[in-house]
């Protein structure tokens, strides 16, 4: 995975999947481009228009709490978000992100502000805040998840290995 560059859009603690995409829209469940226009709309109206391709969602503790809706990471991807960065993640969202190929970075985000330009190396787990000239070391992704992410998500992993192949190469 190459190094990603983009702007930070910052959010607080406990940003749940209802806020990423409200349950009210789940009846349009497969049209991610249409759904993505509603991303974060109850807590930050107009967010969709602020996003440039490759930008990052940066949050505090417990990012992705609540509903298991996989539409949450899919909508973020469809809206152009390149990776999600937070101090900690809720577990279902964390797994969903990996499974759909949206990189997750667990790192102390307290020094990242709205609009800061970040450079993220997923493989090395390094986040450089270019604006503030600070380098942050992320918690390493568990080997199982690194494997699924590098295969391009869970469906690709299953196709490639004809089933789960999580022990090999760890």
């Amino acid at each position: 995975m190459s190094i990603m560059n983009g702007k930070a859009h910052t959010f607080g603690d406990n940003l749940n999947t209802d806020y990423v995409i409200s349950g009210k829209y789940k009846f349009k469940t497969l049209d991610m481009k249409e759904l993505s226009k509603h991303v974060m709309e109850d807590i930050r109206p107009g967010f969709y228009d602020e996003i440039e391709e490759g930008d990052f969602v940066v949050a505090g503790e417990n990012l992705g709490a609540g509903s298991s809706r996989e539409q949450a990471p899919l909508v973020l991807k469809a809206a152009g978000i390149g990776a999600v960065v937070a101090k900690s993640f809720a577990r279902i969202f964390y797994r969903n992100c990996i499974n759909v190929g949206l990189p997750v970075v667990e790192v102390d985000t307290s020094q990242i502000e709205e609009g800061d330009v970040l450079e993220i190396d997923i493989a090395q787990g390094v986040v450089v805040n270019v604006t503030k000239n600070v380098t942050l070391q992320a918690s390493p992704l568990p080997p199982v998840m690194m494997k699924i992410l590098s295969d391009g998500g869970l469906a690709e992993h299953l196709k490639k290995h004809n089933g789960f192949a999580l022990d090999e190469g760890d």
Partner: protein
């Protein structure tokens, strides 16, 4: 390697064929995988790309979020589910009128049972821990993987020992207990972990209340919330459960990451204020005017919840400025409530009664809130915009408080209307 295990470690061991310990990654055989009308279509799409035959007997499909179809888009989604069921001749599908809210149907129809490992593409799949299953929420892609493989990988969770003693006062219930727990430890207090309940107080928690407590384990980030299996569990599932099952108890000396202790007799009627389930306060201190009272959902739409509410409201009327919406969680609950005369009691009191569906719980239909409106609700989430407009408010409470508040027109404990 330690031979002393928690319930979680034992169920993971039995399903993976290895001596599983907290922290370990295991690949485990799944007993059942469930998906509903909003999570299944995405799972179907992923599954079709895998080009294989599904594990038919393990798959349970239950439309509940936007059925009976609320509009054309939701109708298409529900139709997609039927097409998939027909294409692969899947045996476990519960049509509108024969099902209801997915988690209650999983219990009613006997898929949930002690010792089983169940996953579902809905975060409240943790509900079945109330009857000693290890059950947890997954995403749609993972559901597709289980359709194909019948297996899934897990990180075996550490467990939090929740020791219960005493018995509930009055109509205080499992909802009050779980709101108190979440308020004490926070919305990520159990992230990546499983609650395991123990102690002499467990016997005093009715099984329907255990399901309520386990249902909201996820609101503290929990991967599961598991009760032991006792004679109450066995009699609750009798006549419903499919196939054999194996109750699982923890070993003495099992290692827990943390211990919490609650005397059920010390608990108050609790209300979780907007906009987090951890904003719990005793009902008597809340006192806000409401526009709607909602009784239903996978959290508190069981027959026992309807009985409690009907008992509180007996001979009384819903306040003139309040709409009360009553939604039994499943067809079985609905029929039972009808036979017991509970639905007639709600209708007489001025409540609206609907057939089983998720309804307004997630802001879908049947009771969506306008700007500035407040709802006291027996559901599980009070996030911004959860039941409607972003400037509406949801107050989470148990069935007794919901019913009493519907009568009073403001949030009160049931004693306030006696």
């Amino acid at each position: 390697m330690s031979s002393v295990k928690t319930i979680s470690e034992k169920i993971m061991s039995a399903h993976s064929g290895v001596e599983a310990q907290a922290g370990q990654i295991v690949e485990a055989e799944i007993d059942y995988v469930m998906a509903n009308d909003v999570t299944a279509p995405l799972a179907f799409q992923e599954f079709e790309a895998l080009e294989c035959e599904p594990k038919r007997d393990k798959i349970v499909l239950i439309p509940d979020h936007f059925v009976p179809n609320k509009d054309v888009a939701s109708a298409e989604q529900a139709a997609e589910m039927r097409r998939f069921v027909q294409k692969y001749s899947l045996p476990h599908y519960f049509e509108v009128g024969r099902g209801g809210v997915c988690h209650q149907v999983m219990v009613d129809e006997g898929f949930a049972a002690p010792g089983r490992l169940i996953v579902g593409a809905d975060s409240h799949t943790c509900t079945y821990g109330g009857i000693n299953a290890f059950s947890t929420g997954i995403g749609s892609t993972e559901a597709a993987a289980v359709f194909a493989e019948g297996r899934l990988w897990f990180k075996v969770p550490e467990a939090i020992d929740v020791r219960l003693s005493g018995r509930f006062r009055g109509l205080v219930s499992g909802k009050d207990l779980i709101i108190k727990i979440i308020t004490d430890i926070g919305v990520d207090g159990a992230n990546y972990k499983a609650f395991e309940f123990s102690g002499a107080g467990v016997a005093n928690v009715p099984v329907s209340d255990r399901l309520t407590v386990s249902n909201m384990a996820i609101e503290a980030g929990g991967k599961a919330g598991i009760f032991p299996c006792d004679e109450h569990t066995v009699s609750y599932i009798q006549g419903r459960v499919r196939g054999e099952y194996t109750p699982v108890a923890p070993d003495p000396g099992a290692v827990y990451s943390r211990t919490l202790e609650y005397d059920l007799g010390d608990l108050d009627y609790m209300v979780a204020l907007p906009h987090l389930p951890s904003n719990g306060k005793p009902a008597a201190e809340v006192d806000v005017v409401i526009d709607q009272a909602f009784l239903g959902s996978c959290t508190n739409g069981r027959i026992e919840d309807l009985r409690t509410a009907a008992q509180v409201m007996k001979g009384k009327k819903v306040h003139k400025d309040v709409r009360m919406v009553v939604v039994p969680a499943s067809t079985q609950v609905y029929q039972q409530a009808m036979e017991e005369g509970l639905l007639a009691e709600f209708v007489r009191s001025g409540a609206f009664v609907s057939g089983p569906t998720c309804a307004a719980c997630l802001g879908g239909h049947m009771g969506v809130l306008a700007k500035g409106e407040r709802c006291v609700s027996s559901t599980n989430r009070n996030f911004i915009g959860r039941m409607g407009h972003k400037d509406s408010e949801v107050y989470l409470a148990g069935p007794a408080v919901v019913a009493a508040s519907a009568v009073a027109g403001r949030i009160v404990a049931p004693e306030a209307i006696q």
